[in-house]
Structure formats: structure tokens, C-alpha cells
């Protein structure tokens, strides 16, 4: 099967400026490659500052990539211009984390949802009926048609944002922490809606989150990011059952488990240090200063490549042999 999206060697460096001179680079995303197949959810996890949001935005060219290829339905997005770019903008959508700042407070729900539809020149027979149907598919109804965003709760606003995405019938949606601002009961609701819509319309999702429980629930495959690099990629089930990279192991041992019995039995690993600054990342493997298995002379000198350790399960760590 052809992937919907293929990212190859994606890099995004932000300049660090002092007056007029550039004195360094923040390597927010540094050589990331992965594919997303039709109808699949690819989860991207990592701690704040690891570059997961930048990856999501660079893929959509909301931020221009420094280097790398982004192939969407066979076309290299980085080269698109004019009408083709418009086509891309319609078929690849994003849903943001904060439902309070992502909706225009001066527009009614109807206008918010219709604006992109008009912009892309999509023919709609009866706009009201069209919007009502969209609202119903995300769990809202016609009562909400002419209301303003401030009249809605956080969860409802995320639903409006979702209806807006649906209106354009995209192939691919970047979900950037779509439920981080919501309470658990509301979160469950939105996650289920997202899953149902995926089944119905065959969307592909890039699901970005720092919550491992949520990523496991949502994703078919996932990638773990650390300081701008993917350290492990594979089927979500496999990564949770058998995490290979020491960072993934540390992350899994650090998440609190909502079950006292399992929590007591959980394998614990000493969690030390904090993620270093991406301005001057550690040499070699970026995780080596925090890694309990780091080998001097290897891990701090040479960068490990991402290698396939078992079927479809990739890891970038010297523990798993030289490629």
C-alpha cells in the first residue's frame, strides 16, 4: 500500500539571534523520517521541547522546513506552488491544542465552518443543512448553528474545530494535542469521536501528544521523539509491550498507572535528569547523559542510526548492534 504521507530526513532549525548575528541554531527537528498509511493513526510522543509540534507544523508547511522531503499522495509538498498548494491545504488539515484560541470569537459557528468551504470553492446545495449535518456527526446539533465560540465549553469547541476540519473532507489530519486542555471525561468523548470518524471516512491521523495512555489508545503505529530525533518507531502495541530504547523505557516507567495493583508491580527504572536544551544537544546519542546504559567512547561520540530490530520495529540505540 502506498503511504498517504512520507517524511524523509525532515529538519527544521530555528536561528538564535543576538542583535543581528546568528549565534546558533535550535535544532527543533533533526532528521526525522516516517510514513503514514491510509486509515492509520501514527502517534508521536515525547516531552515538551522534543520537536513533536514543530514536526506536525512543518509537515503542513505552516513552518517552512529547513531540509527534507514531505511526500503527500505522491507529490513533494516542499515544492508545491499556487493551485497545487491550495489542493494540499484542503486535503491536509490540522486541529490544535487550545480550543480557546483556535476559533474566531467574532464569528458564528456557521461562519467558522463555512469559511474554508467557500474559500476552497466547494459546491454546497444547502449550506445550513450541510453545516447541521457536520455538527451532528461530531455530536453537536442545529441549536448551535448561530452561536459564538464563547458560548461553548472546551470540549464543545474542540468539536466545532473538528467539524471545520471535516467540512473539507481531508485525507490527512494533524491532531496536535487535541485533548490536552480537556477533562478526562470529555477527552474520552472526543477521542472516541475521532476514532469513529476515522473508521467512517478513512482518515489518516498524525496524533501528537505527551500522554502515553492516550497515544496508545489512539495509534496503530507510533514514534518516540527525543530532542528533535525519532529514537523508536513501531506498532504501538509492540512499543508498549517491549520498549527497546532506554528513553522509551524510562518514559514508560515514569508514567503513573491509574491502577494501584499494576502500579505496585510495575518495573521501575531510575528516572534522572531533564531533557537538555536543543541549542547545544549532547554529542553522539542525544540521550547518553541520562542513559543508564551509556558506553563511554561510543554513545557520546557516534550517533546511532535508526535500525530495524524486529519486524517494523525500529530503534536508534547502540545497544542493538551496529547497523
Amino acid at each position: 500500500m502506498e503511504p498517504v504521507l512520507k517524511v524523509e530526513g525532515l529538519r527544521k532549525y530555528f536561528p538564535v539571534k543576538s542583535l543581528l548575528r546568528t549565534i546558533g541554531w535550535v535544532k527543533a527537528v533533526d532528521g526525522v523520517s516516517f510514513e503514514i498509511y491510509p486509515g492509520e493513526t501514527f502517534g508521536l510522543v515525547g516531552e515538551s521541547g522534543c520537536g513533536k509540534t514543530t514536526t506536525g507544523r512543518t509537515i503542513l508547511r505552516l513552518i517552512e522546513p529547513t531540509e527534507g522531503k514531505i511526500v503527500f499522495n505522491g507529490k513533494d509538498v516542499t515544492q508545491l506552488k499556487g493551485r497545487e498548494m491550495l489542493w494540499f491545504r484542503r486535503h491536509a488539515q490540522i486541529m490544535f491544542q487550545d480550543p480557546y484560541s483556535s476559533l474566531d470569537p467574532r464569528q458564528t459557528v456557521f461562519n467558522i465552518i463555512m469559511e474554508p468551504v467557500k474559500f476552497h470553492g466547494i459546491e454546497v446545495d444547502d449550506p445550513e443543512e450541510f453545516v447541521i449535518r457536520l455538527l451532528e456527526s461530531v455530536g453537536l446539533n442545529e441549536m448551535h448553528l448561530y452561536r459564538y465560540p464563547h458560548e461553548f465549553s472546551g470540549g464543545q469547541r474542540q468539536r466545532i474545530a473538528l467539524a471545520k476540519v471535516l467540512a473539507l473532507q481531508p485525507d490527512f489530519v494533524v491532531l496536535d494535542e487535541p485533548t490536552s486542555a480537556l477533562d478526562v471525561s470529555v477527552q474520552a468523548n472526543i477521542l472516541n469521536t475521532l476514532k469513529d470518524l476515522q473508521k467512517k471516512h478513512g482518515f489518516s491521523y498524525l496524533f501528537i501528544s505527551h500522554d502515553l495512555g492516550v497515544v496508545k489508545y489512539m495509534s496503530h503505529r507510533m514514534g518516540v521523539m527525543y530532542l528533535g530525533k525519532l529514537v523508536e518507531v513501531g506498532p504501538a502495541e509492540r512499543i508498549f509491550d517491549n520498549p527497546l530504547h532506554p528513553y522509551t523505557q524510562m518514559l514508560l516507567s515514569a508514567i503513573p498507572i491509574p491502577d494501584p495493583e499494576l502500579a505496585r508491580k510495575k518495573k521501575r527504572m531510575e528516572v534522572k535528569g531533564e531533557p537538555p536544551s536543543p541549542i547545544n544537544p549532547p554529542s553522539g546519542c542525544r540521550f547518553h547523559p541520562r542513559c543508564p546504559f551509556a558506553k563511554a567512547g561510543l554513545c557520546d561520540k557516534e550517533e546511532p542510526p535508526l535500525v530495524e530490530v524486529e519486524k517494523d520495529h525500529y530503534v536508534a540505540c547502540w545497544l542493538y548492534g551496529k547497523a
Binding site: 478526562v184 474520552a188 491509574p258 495493583e261
Partner: protein, 326 residues
């Protein structure tokens, strides 16, 4: 029999806003036992933070503590009602015998003072040190205790020179500076990354053991509860829904809200086919639902639930629930 350090009785806190009276806390009663970690859980707006602040009268206008008692049993055997104390008297206890750690370490530290000064100040105002200089000297030891590397130099740092996790360690340092009997941690790790969160929770646990203190942990994260607390109070819409040990709450939840809440959380160690969500939204507390406040969202609601407020009943030893089904 465990002895209580704090007994909260029929606490009511209302906020008098232009839109109406928000009944944020309605008739809340529970005990905190000496030496335990008690978790207060619930969703946004359920009143968990307001409850914890009301303990030492930290409620600002337009909020008001309408009624209730908070009995504090001191180490020397005497008992005071914290809500009856005047400003001066409560200030002697707050930050001293009862200390707080708040959610956001960026806003709980003053950007204009060094971290050493801020820890020293907390000791100086409670007369634990003669002057600020001695306080800053003692701050080095406190920074060492909260596991900040290189404390001799860090003591001269300003908050912006520290990472989020380090700042939260300083805030904890201020909290424990006066060796509090009760440490109230209000979402202490919500602003932090998971790996840092694990370290901070470990630190709070360790300090609690070392100082033999009691911890009231306020959180919305059920994972944090399961890993750190011994007992749990579940709150919903300004009322206590259920109280029990972590095993009782997680393995035998009784209140329909607790049951639903537990099913809504994705457990990363389990395979979940479908998460269950709670229909509806949290009620407006200006005009809360009559009877049981959960009834509009409850799958088992009957006529009685719409009319009568359920009382908190003890179903098995230590396991209390406010629901008409029991």
C-alpha cells in the same frame, strides 16, 4: 485507629459574582489522618482547589467561607478551628505548620529575588531564623534536600535561570522550609513533563517520610493518585462523592461518577477497545441540579435522585459514598 490531623466539617464556600452566587463548595466533610497521603481528585471546577485553600482561609473576594469548621489537631494535643482564627493567627500557621505547593512553579516564585532569598524569607517571617542572612545560609541545605545539584551556587540563582522541574523543587523547598505538619500540594506536577513528574512525586514522598508529615495531594490525574496516595476523596460539582482507600476506589468504586471517571482514563498498560465517556457536562454551580448533583449525567438516576440530596454513608470500613443506590 488512625487519628485525624484535620477534620473538615460541613464546609461551604460561595463566590458572590455578578452572574449570581456560585456554590463552589457545598457541605463538604472529610478527615485527613496523620501521616497519610490523601488525594483529592475531580475534574475542573469540582472544588478541589477551593477546598484546599479554604483550609487556611486562602479564599479571596468575591469568595467567602460561608460556614463550616476545620479542626486542626496540633502535635501538642491542642485543637483549633482554623476558620475561627483572625488574619494574624492564621498567618502564623499558614506557610509554617500548614504549607502549600502550587501548580505553576513559574508564577509561585518572585522573579526579582534569588531562590535562596525566597526560601530564607519563608523561614524568617516565621521566626525560624534570626535574619535573612541566616535564612539564605540554611537555604543551601534545603536545596540539597530537594536534590538540586550544586546547591552552594544555585542558592544565588534567580528563578529564570532554572528549569521548570528545578523551580518546582525550589517551591517544594519553600514549602518544607519550616518543617510543616501538613503539606498541601495543589497539582504539583501538572505543568511538568512525565519524567520530571516522576522525580517530583518521588521527592514529595521521600520528604513526607523523612519529616513524618501529612500530605494532601490535589490532582486530576488518577495515575498520580494510584501511585502516591493511600486514601482518596472524589469530588464532583462542589460535593464529596466518595471516600475510600486507593484499593477500594480503584477496584471497587461505588459512586457512578467514580466508576465513569475510572473508565474514561486510558491505562497505558492495558488494552482498551473503547473508552467510556460521561455524557453531558459539569453543571453550572450557580443553579446546581437539585437532589444529587450528578443525576443529569448518571445512568442510574431515579426519581429520588432528582429530589433528595444523598448523604455520605459508610458502606464498608473506611469506604464512604454519597449515592441513593447504597
Amino acid at each position: 485507629m488512625p487519628e485525624p490531623i484535620i477534620e473538615i466539617k460541613n464546609l461551604r464556600v460561595y463566590f458572590y459574582t455578578y452572574a449570581g452566587v456560585v456554590k463552589a463548595i457545598e457541605d463538604v466533610s472529610f478527615n485527613i489522618y496523620r501521616g497519610e497521603t490523601l488525594a483529592l481528585v475531580g475534574e475542573t471546577g469540582c472544588g478541589k482547589s477551593v477546598t484546599s485553600r479554604a483550609l487556611t482561609q486562602l479564599i479571596e473576594s468575591p469568595g467567602r467561607i460561608v460556614s463550616g469548621q476545620v479542626l486542626y489537631h496540633r502535635d501538642d494535643g491542642s485543637t483549633v478551628d482554623l476558620l475561627k482564627l483572625n488574619d494574624e493567627e492564621i498567618r502564623e500557621i499558614r506557610g509554617n505548620e500548614i504549607a502549600y505547593i502550587f501548580q505553576d512553579p513559574h508564577s509561585s516564585l518572585d522573579p526579582l529575588y534569588t531562590v535562596g532569598y525566597q526560601i530564607g524569607e519563608a523561614m524568617e517571617v516565621h521566626g525560624k531564623v534570626k535574619n535573612i542572612k541566616e535564612g539564605i545560609g540554611r537555604a543551601v541545605n534545603i536545596l540539597r534536600e530537594v536534590l538540586i545539584p550544586d546547591p552552594e551556587n544555585r542558592v544565588r540563582n534567580y528563578p529564570h535561570e532554572l528549569s521548570g522541574g528545578m523551580k518546582q523543587r525550589v517551591v517544594i523547598g519553600i514549602g518544607i522550609a519550616n518543617n510543616p505538619r501538613l503539606l498541601i500540594a495543589d497539582e504539583p506536577t501538572t505543568a511538568l513533563d512525565v519524567t520530571v513528574q516522576a522525580q517530583i512525586l518521588e521527592l514529595i514522598n521521600e520528604l513526607k517520610r523523612k519529616y513524618n508529615a501529612t500530605v494532601l495531594l490535589i490532582t486530576h490525574n488518577l495515575g498520580v493518585v494510584a501511585e502516591t496516595a493511600q486514601r482518596v476523596v472524589v469530588m464532583y460539582a462542589g460535593k464529596v462523592a466518595e471516600i475510600g482507600s486507593i484499593d477500594q476506589i480503584f477496584h471497587n468504586p461505588l459512586h457512578p461518577y467514580t466508576v465513569a471517571l475510572l473508565r474514561a482514563v486510558p491505562n497505558p498498560l492495558k488494552k482498551i477497545e473503547k473508552l467510556e465517556s460521561i455524557p453531558g457536562t459539569v453543571p453550572n454551580l450557580i443553579t446546581p441540579p437539585k437532589g444529587c448533583r450528578f443525576h443529569p449525567r448518571c445512568p442510574f438516576a431515579e426519581e429520588r435522585c432528582r429530589k433528595e440530596v444523598p448523604e455520605l454513608k459508610e458502606i464498608e470500613p473506611g469506604h464512604w459514598v454519597a449515592c441513593h443506590r447504597y
